[in-house]
């Protein structure tokens, strides 16, 4: 793992909000590709902002976007976790609360909470752990009043590290959940 992974521009996927019932999203055999190599996926920056479900956050013309204003807490997007833990630590509560308030104030905004894990141990367990971290952040968003409809959780497990050295300083950066807004 010596090569640093370039973080792809993350796409807020177009899933509906979490439901508790199994619903198949697409019929089987949707992909029938005789040439395996042709199954290469498109570059990751293809986020479609024209989709009605991902209406961009409305901003008055000329105003500073609070989501990207470095002086605004909303520009901070990462919640970090301890090893094998999914507890949202107290120091991140103000950050999660700010995002919850933003969602309440901007009912058209949609956010994906993306869970991640460091690369030690099993990839599948880490995928499950990333999901639980994303869900833990969503739960705190809910506690502060944010609506399920605006939040989607997804896990990348250990597959999208922001740092790839074998040291705690690096692992701790990879045990995180990220807020990514639709249209970003």
């Amino acid at each position: 793992m010596n090569k640093s992974l370039v973080m792809s521009v993350v796409l807020v996927s177009l899933l509906a909000a979490c439901s508790s019932k199994p619903v198949k999203e697409e019929p089987k055999a949707a992909v029938e590709d005789k040439s395996p190599v042709a199954a290469q996926t498109a570059p990751a920056q293809a986020a479609s902002s024209t989709d009605a479900t991902t209406a961009a956050v409305s901003q008055p013309a000329g105003a500073v976007n609070p989501l990207t204003d470095p002086n605004n807490i909303l520009s901070k997007r990462n919640v970090f976790f301890d090893f094998d833990k999914d507890e949202v630590k107290a120091e991140y509560r103000p950050l999660v609360e700010a995002h919850a308030k933003y969602l309440i104030a901007n009912p058209n905004a949609k956010v994906a909470v993306q869970g991640n894990a460091d690369d030690r141990g099993s990839r599948e367990y880490n995928l499950a752990l990333g999901q639980r971290r994303a869900a833990a952040v969503k739960k705190v968003l809910n506690v502060y009043g944010a609506s399920d409809k605006q939040i989607e959780t997804v896990s990348y497990g250990e597959e999208k590290p922001r740092c790839s050295e074998q040291a705690e300083s690096c692992w701790s950066q990879n045990r995180r959940a990220d807020f990514v807004y639709a249209g970003e």
Binding site: C18, S19, E25, A30, V31, E124, R132, V154
Partner: protein, 428 residues
Amino acid sequence: MMPMLKSTISFLLVLMATAIGNAQAALTIEIVGGAAQQIPIAVVPFAQPTVQPENLATIINADLRRSGLFRALETRGVTNQPHDLAEVKYPEWAALQAQALVIGKVELQANNRLKVSFRLLDVLKQNSLAGLEYDITPAQLRSTAHKIADVIYEKMTGEKGVFDTRITYIVKQGNRFQLQVADADGGNPQTVLASTEPIISPSWSPDGNKLAYVSFEKKKPVIFVQSLVTGQRQVLANFKGNNSAPSWSPDGSRLAIVLTYGANSQVYLINADGTGLQQLSHSNAIDTEPEWSPDGKWVYFTSDRGGSPQIYRMSTLGGDAQRVTFEGTYNVSPHFSPDGKLLTYIRREAGRFRVAQQELSTGQAQLLSESAQDESPSFAPNGKMILYATNLNGKGVLSIVSADGRTKQRLSESGGDVREPSWGPWMK
């Protein structure tokens, strides 16, 4: 626990990539250790048409060495270089202290086919232990060498060989992920799928003709099943949330998979055609990495329901889960030996992730690897070796350890990280 005979064998063997139209760097194999008692064997270079790039004896020798059970003797200093039974001068091979001798040849036939013949001889008793002929196409030369090595291995050890089997794994080069299938020695690598998004958890169908795997190409984990015969693939599971960790039932009719409708991953069963989804585990914890037992009755899986990840099992009919691992605070990624008697998994101990092997009848476990970042162990179809991923100098490589822990091989690729290996079944 692991007396490594480092002095016994330690060499590098660079394999020639024979894949046509495949620009892959070859996997390099390094072998450390070996069994205490190794069978001294002499494989005479086969008589072959000069156009063929690799002598079959080279491939056979490499296979036998990798098992750790054979000592391949240098044959170049011997005057007698037989290719037929009548040419064999046993005293010369007895002088080399060979216990067994292998001779053979490849002959061109009409319609561009080849006839490969070989004999395995007992040097002391001066008789033939095996002799076979193969009528093949030139493209089958390599696999025929593996088949011959399998016959030799079985005659000399009493166990079925696994040289003519395949492995799958994922190579990551920069931002490119490739799902590959190669011979068990890493030769003849073929790309099954290439993607700019991660691919994980490839799982062989029991007949070896299909792979189920998880691809992130839809910006989230989705399970696909792909035929290795036609290359056709289809979505097996694309439900809300994550779809991951496919494992085939022994009869190939169903798969155990993992879905996340809530915070926690849970195990589901689904028919191989994507119908008949049913939830198997119901917990308030992570349940993942299902592994179907070879008798078809159980699904073993990783769960942190007890506070830390451990391996549990459930009947495929449902019911309560029973805990399987008790030592250590982190045991994940269970995989069965084909006879259902052994379980291999990854244990974290003192910050190191290592390959463990547990006898299911006694619950006794031992650590087989000495590295620190081991992942995804799987048994060879004869249960005598375990293939797993590890990290060497910051790079993902594959390792194989014999079930007795004595012999280790490393397969690395110069160009990228190799990870998520799985050893395929014997082809029917």
